[in-house]
C-alpha cells in the first residue's frame, strides 16, 4: 500500500531556528566575526577554499561560521554559492617559479639557490599544548633578517634536476583545451589535467589516506619530496574584450613536487618520475598527498601493474569528492518509508514461507534460509 504524506514545515522551521541558536553557542561568549575566522583559523579557511574549489577567504570564513565549523558543510555552501555566478573565463596558468615564498623546503637537496626556508611551519614544534594560549595575549613579533641575494630567485628544484636529464620533463603544453570536470562529466581513462583538478578539490582525508596507502605498499612509488613551496603568486586573466592580460591579484598556493623512482624502459633511459600537487592556501599535507596520488594514477602510463586502490582512476576520482560522498551517504537518512515498506513486505512473506516450509520439514528451503 502506498501512502503519500506531507508535513513537517513547522518542525523544519523550528529546526532551523534551533540550529541558529546552537551555532551561536552561549550568548555570554562574544560572537566570532568573519575576520576573526579568516585570520585566526586560516588553515581551516584554506581547506574550505581548496575543497570548495573557490578562492575567496572571506566567503570560506563565512561558510565556516554558518556551518558551525563543519568543513564538508562549509564546502557544500561554497560550492552552492559558486553555481550562482557567471564564469568570466580561465586565468593565464600561474607561474609557481615566480612565487613570493613564505616557505620552501627540499628533502632531496640541502643546498639550492634560495635555500631551505622553513616559514610558518608546525614541523619542529613539540606538539605540547600551549596553555598560555588559553589566555589572551600577543605573541612576540616574528624575527626578521635581510633576505639573501638569491632569495628572490627560487628556481624549482625539479628544474635544476631536469636540466641534467635525471628527471622526466613535465608534459609539454600543446595548446589543447583544458578538461574541466565542472563542465563535462569525467570519462575514463581521465586525462592527467582532469585528475589533478579532481585531486585538488578532493577531500583531504581521503587523498591523504590514499597517499599513505601507497607508502605502505599498495602501489609503491618510492617517493622523495623534491620540493614544497608555499607563498603567493600573481594571477592574470585575459578578458575577451581587452585582449591583453590584466592582473587580478595575488593568491596563496602550496606546491609539492614529488620525485619518484622509475627504472626506465626500452625507450626511456632510467630517470626519476614525478608526481605533482598544487592547492589553494597553505595546504602542505594535501599538496603532498595529492602529489603521491598523482604519481600513483600514472601507473598504467608508466607501464606499471595496476592493482592498488590509489592506482585505480575510477576508484580515486569517483570517491575523492567530499560533497559527492556526503550527499550519497547522508541521503540515506532522508525518508525511505516506501522503499522500506516494500522490503518489509518481502521479508514478512519470506518469513511466512520459511515458517511454512519448516513446519513441513522441507530441508532445501531450510538450508537456503540458513
Amino acid at each position: 500500500m502506498y501512502v503519500a504524506v506531507k508535513g513537517g514545515e513547522a518542525a523544519i522551521d523550528n529546526a532551523h531556528r534551533l540550529l541558529a541558536e546552537r551555532r551561536r553557542g552561549d550568548p555570554a561568549v562574544p560572537e566570532l566575526t568573519v575576520a576573526q575566522i579568516r585570520e585566526q583559523m586560516s588553515l581551516l579557511v584554506d581547506r574550505v577554499m581548496a575543497e570548495g574549489s573557490l578562492y575567496d577567504p572571506d566567503l570560506a570564513a563565512l561558510a565556516l561560521k554558518q556551518a558551525r565549523g563543519d568543513v564538508v558543510e562549509a564546502v557544500f555552501l561554497v560550492r552552492a554559492y559558486r553555481t550562482t555566478l557567471p564564469r568570466f573565463g580561465a586565468s593565464v596558468p600561474v607561474e609557481t617559479g615566480a612565487m613570493a615564498v613564505d616557505r620552501r623546503v627540499s628533502a632531496t637537496f640541502k643546498d639550492m639557490p634560495g635555500g631551505q626556508v622553513l616559514g610558518p611551519t608546525f614541523d619542529y614544534t613539540h606538539r605540547l599544548i600551549d596553555f598560555a594560549l588559553a589566555a589572551a595575549g600577543e605573541p612576540e613579533p616574528a624575527a626578521e633578517a635581510e633576505p639573501g641575494p638569491d632569495a628572490a630567485l627560487c628556481p624549482r628544484v625539479t628544474d635544476i634536476l631536469g636540466q641534467a636529464g635525471l628527471l622526466e620533463a613535465s608534459p609539454p603544453e600543446a595548446g589543447a583545451p583544458v578538461g574541466d570536470l565542472t563542465r563535462e562529466a569525467v570519462d575514463f581513462p581521465a586525462d592527467r589535467a582532469v585528475r589533478l583538478q579532481a585531486l585538488a578539490r578532493g577531500d583531504e582525508g581521503f587523498v591523504l589516506a590514499l597517499g599513505y596507502s601507497t607508502q605502505r605498499g599498495y602501489g609503491r612509488t618510492h617517493p622523495f619530496v623534491g620540493e614544497i613551496r608555499c607563498g603567493t603568486v600573481a594571477v592574470e586573466f585575459v578578458p575577451e574584450e581587452l585582449g591583453f592580460s590584466v592582473p587580478l591579484g595575488d593568491v596563496p598556493l602550496t606546491e609539492c613536487q614529488m620525485v619518484n623512482q622509475f627504472h626506465g624502459s626500452g625507450d626511456v633511459p632510467p630517470q626519476f618520475t614525478r608526481g605533482y600537487g598544487l592547492v589553494f592556501g597553505q595546504g602542505e599535507r594535501k599538496a603532498m598527498a595529492m602529489a603521491l596520488v598523482d604519481r600513483s594514477l600514472r601507473a598504467s602510463e608508466l607501464g606499471e601493474a595496476v592493482g592498488a586502490p590509489a592506482q585505480d582512476q575510477e576508484f580515486v576520482l569517483a570517491h575523492c569528492d567530499s560533497l559527492q560522498a556526503t550527499g550519497f551517504v547522508e541521503h540515506l537518512k532522508l525518508p525511505h518509508y516506501v522503499d522500506f515498506q516494500a522490503e518489509l513486505e518481502l521479508v514478512r512473506r519470506l518469513r511466512a514461507e520459511h515458517a511454512a516450509a519448516r513446519a513441513q520439514g522441507d530441508a532445501p528451503i531450510r538450508e537456503a534460509a540458513e
Partner: protein
Amino acid sequence: MALRPGFADPVHDAQAVFRAALDALSRPARVRPLPTALAPPAPLSPELAALALALADADTPLWLDPPLAGSDDVAAFLRFHTGAPLTADPAEAAFALIADPARCPDFAAFARGAPDYPDRSATLILALRHLDDAAGPAFAGPGIRGRARIDAGPVPADWAGRLAENAAAFPLGIDLILTAPGRIAGLPRAARLLQPAEA
C-alpha cells in the same frame, strides 16, 4: 567607435530571452514574440544580439558569418558583452550567428556532436526577414502536436534537403533558432520535415 550598451537589466533581460529560446526549441516551428530593446551595431540584428548575450559566454565559441565578421564594432560588442571567444572555424563554434541566411554555410561545416555526446554540437541562429507559422513546409516530432508549419526566408535553395538530412542524422545534428524582427522560432534536430505527401 562608442561601445553600445548591453541589456539594461542583465539578469532579468537575459532570463526573458533564455525563456523565449527554451520555449522556441521545446515547441518547434511555432513563432513567438522576442521583444528586445537592444540597439547593437549593424549588421547585427537586435534579436541575434539578444540571443548571443543571453546564451554565449567564455565557454561557447561564437562563429560569425562574413557580413558580421566584417564589422569590428560587432566583434567588439559581442566580446565585451558575452566574453565569448570569436572563432573563424565554424567547426569550433557552439553558436553561429548568421546575418545573411540566404548564404548560410552548409550544415556539415558545423559540429554535430558525437554518439557519446550529441550535445557537443552547434546551434545556428539566423536573422531572417520573414518568419511565419501560418504556412510553409510542415514538421513533425517531439513538442509538435500533429504537425506544424514554418515559413522562413530568405533561405538557401537547398534548405529542405539540408533540414531533411539534419533530422536523419538524429541524435547527431545541429539545432536552428530562427529569428525575424521581434520574433523567434526553433527548429531543433528532432523536428522532422514532412514530405509533401505526408504534409
